[in-house]
Subunit: 318 residues, 2 copies
């Protein structure tokens, strides 16, 4: 029986191996993805994001455990921060997830935030495709930071939960606008800490000051990842959000927008790859760098020269 057949029969080890196969761009990965894409599944894709130290991991543990207990199949994608240069992930507290890993209906995949062929966004999207085709009920994408990694979480999720803690005051100040655009639901975690009530008031204020484009207010939920307080409410809000976007047609719209940007990213990546390959085998770029360093040319003219050499007259309107 082929790996893919075993995958279709819901063999978790086959799932793991196929994801790795795709991630490493091994022979036939494209055929595999194509096959998986024909089974889009029904999974609700939930993004959990927020600043470091907000307790996202513990919260994800709680949410996943609750979903699993209700008999759901859950796929988790945990994106680790990593060096912008080495691509090495600092696994940190990934081990804590061992209790979840032992559950039969939870599947966890960690990934480093850089150094993936095709980039983090592609790796995340492909894993979501595999999870969805596998028949997961829920896919949770946990990412550190907002705008801290090269992935726009709303480009891959249906519902985005932004997790903050009473100490997040600074972040709210600097990221205010971004938070409002990204969050479908705000979660104030470590609700037992001083300042939690104040943060909820601030968020409520922000929400009313600047409603979502359609006038809907985002819910703010207080939780404690440690005690489990508020988790049930958070899960209810997530389900309500799914229902809301489905009924209003926003769900389909969002997915279409995501597919559009996925295709365009893929095309741009292909072109960039083509360009790097061409430039590598010529000495034109070195020549341009020299002229630029000597002030004989400006950077835009240098780019024009490269562009003209490889693309000019070769691009038409199709």
């Amino acid at each position: 029986m082929s790996l893919y057949e075993r995958f279709r029969r819901r063999d978790r080890r086959a799932l793991a191996r196929l994801i790795t196969h795709i991630e490493n761009r091994k022979n036939g990965y494209r055929r595999l993805l194509a096959a998986m894409a024909t089974t889009p599944g029904h999974a609700h894709r939930i993004g959990i994001t927020g600043p470091p130290g907000a307790g996202k991991s513990t919260l994800v543990d709680q949410i996943v455990a609750a979903y699993a207990e209700e008999g759901n199949e859950v796929g988790v994608i945990a994106i680790d921060p990593s060096s912008p240069f080495t691509g090495g992930a600092l696994l940190g507290d990934r081990i804590r997830m061992s209790q979840l890993i032992n559950r039969k209906n939870v599947f966890i995949r960690s990934m480093a935030s850089r150094g993936k062929s095709g980039g983090l966004a592609a790796a995340t999207r492909d894993t979501i495709t595999a999870f969805a085709a596998f028949g997961m009920d829920l896919i949770i994408v946990e990412t550190v930071g907002i705008g801290q990694i090269e992935l726009d979480i709303i480009d891959v999720c249906d519902t985005v939960v932004v997790v903050l803690v009473p100490e997040s005051g600074d972040i709210i100040q600097t990221m205010k606008a971004g938070l409002m655009e990204i969050a479908d639901i705000f979660c104030v975690n470590k609700i037992d800490r001083e300042g939690a009530e104040r943060l909820i008031v601030i968020l409520d204020h922000l929400i009313h000051e600047r409603l979502a484009p359609d006038g809907r207010a985002f819910p703010v939920v207080g939780t404690s990842g440690l005690s489990g307080e508020g988790i049930e409410t958070l899960i209810e809000r997530i389900a309500e959000h799914r229902q809301y976007i489905t009924e209003t047609g926003k769900f389909a719209q969002r997915r279409r927008r995501q597919l559009r940007s996925e295709i365009m990213d893929n095309v741009k990546e292909r072109i960039a790859r083509h360009l790097e390959r061409q430039v590598e085998i010529s000495d034109e770029l070195d020549r341009m760098v020299n002229e630029l360093a000597e002030g004989m040319i400006d950077p835009y003219r240098a780019a024009d020269r490269i562009y003209d050499q490889y693309f000019h007259g070769r691009l038409t309107s199709g």
Copy 2:
């Protein structure tokens, strides 16, 4: 007298207007940049980065004031965090810089982190080009975060100072590798706070655990942006770093690497622009999105179709 002539005669208002002209991609901006690029100047480009709340702004104020007092001309580029969607900058404490603005030999330029035509990196690079051609002695680029915005500070600076505070423990854990690769100098700010000594010890430890590729250790400097303690030492270390990279040839290497990535970014941007334009006037992308949504095609195949339609057979090895 033309604006550019006034710029050449070191008229600050001409400088301001030309930067705006270039930023807005107004008629003739390319010619302007080309002219400026022929005068690369001698400015030392210093990046100051670190997490929100590290006191970077106050520190920059102190450093700039010290440089200015010695008779240097200083250009400051302050990059504000902003919404990833609206492109609106939250100016926050930019006003505090008013005391600097009044100095004759300090020129400050704020910019939002998104929504620039050509991107933040291009806007920053162009402003650096203008500052350098204007004859600045020092150019300071202040950015929030590390990897939080779409600009790699080491792609535009000769010397990068990473500012941390005793509370930055979390960030050091998650960003360890990235910090080591990015920082030429570590600055522990708010040195009077509890935990500062411990942070210095940790950084010293990290530095010795993982030396720079050439075996040189990064200096760690303790400062207080408020009292001004340590500022003089920091400035000395910055000068030493410049001397070090100049003597070892790393300065020229670094600038060449920067020019290379600048050219390639420009070419990629041009191609992406061309692509978006072509795709907009056709309905091929919509068709692909539909097929993808229905599971009739996979995202890579969809990208291939777009790529083939616009680029296939039109790209050669030049």
